[in-house]
Point group: C2
Chain length 155, copies 2
Amino acid sequence: MLGKIYDGQFCSIARSLDIVGERWSLLIMREAAMSGITRYSDFQHNLGIATNVLKTRLDHFVDTGLMTRDERGDYVLTPKGRDLYPVLLAFVEWGDRWNAPDGPPGYFRHVGCGEAVHTAMRCEVHGDVDAAEITIERGPGAPDAWVESRRPARS
Amino acid sequence: MLGKIYDGQFCSIARSLDIVGERWSLLIMREAAMSGITRYSDFQHNLGIATNVLKTRLDHFVDTGLMTRDERGDYVLTPKGRDLYPVLLAFVEWGDRWNAPDGPPGYFRHVGCGEAVHTAMRCEVHGDVDAAEITIERGPGAPDAWVESRRPARS
């Protein structure tokens, strides 16, 4: 189950990048998850991506369970694929804050009520938390050898 | 200001990927933001990454304002760099849900209280929302020609 590129990194980010870390992957997923694109020719049109690259990525998404193909051959997101939405939105917000000199290309709003939608990091008890207030506790997916080999932060 | 790789995509994800989309970039940022790594040799040790790749990525992070170098030559996150934490955490959570057969490698907890920290997408009025409840309204960073050239979702 471990990916090939970042093998040896016992980390859910590394495993995620083995699926969506290749060039264009997240923009293809943006088209699917945020713009509802399903047809091969529409992905190609909207991204201007080389067709061999697009085909390879879409096939990979089907192989890794992010998409299925329907009876028309369209690429339809699975629950696993749709669940990338918060990752994409977090990327959007970071880009909007730091890399959007002309302002955000889009605003994300709650259907119906029209209010802004944002991502947040939240403690179940205390609500919104900042990165500085988060600590990481070892979980079952981290092998001893890996944990012991890692160098810690220096004070 | 537009990136080179995904030029023509007026999208904050594309702009973000031009900064952190290269192979190893997000794992280097994980080491910095989540593990507090600052020293070149510690990044190298923890990731097992080729030194020329590591140097190129770190230089790029300095050039794009994600890191600065302190008096010891260590790589220290800027506010822009630290602000990637929610993106990293969203990636972690997706990987934990879908790509962690042995369980999560780590648990993210609120310092002090010890409760779990999670990312969420939230409407300012109605609280947590699902991807299906989000709509995108055009913003000032989306040029006419780009918007008009795009194909919409098919029903």
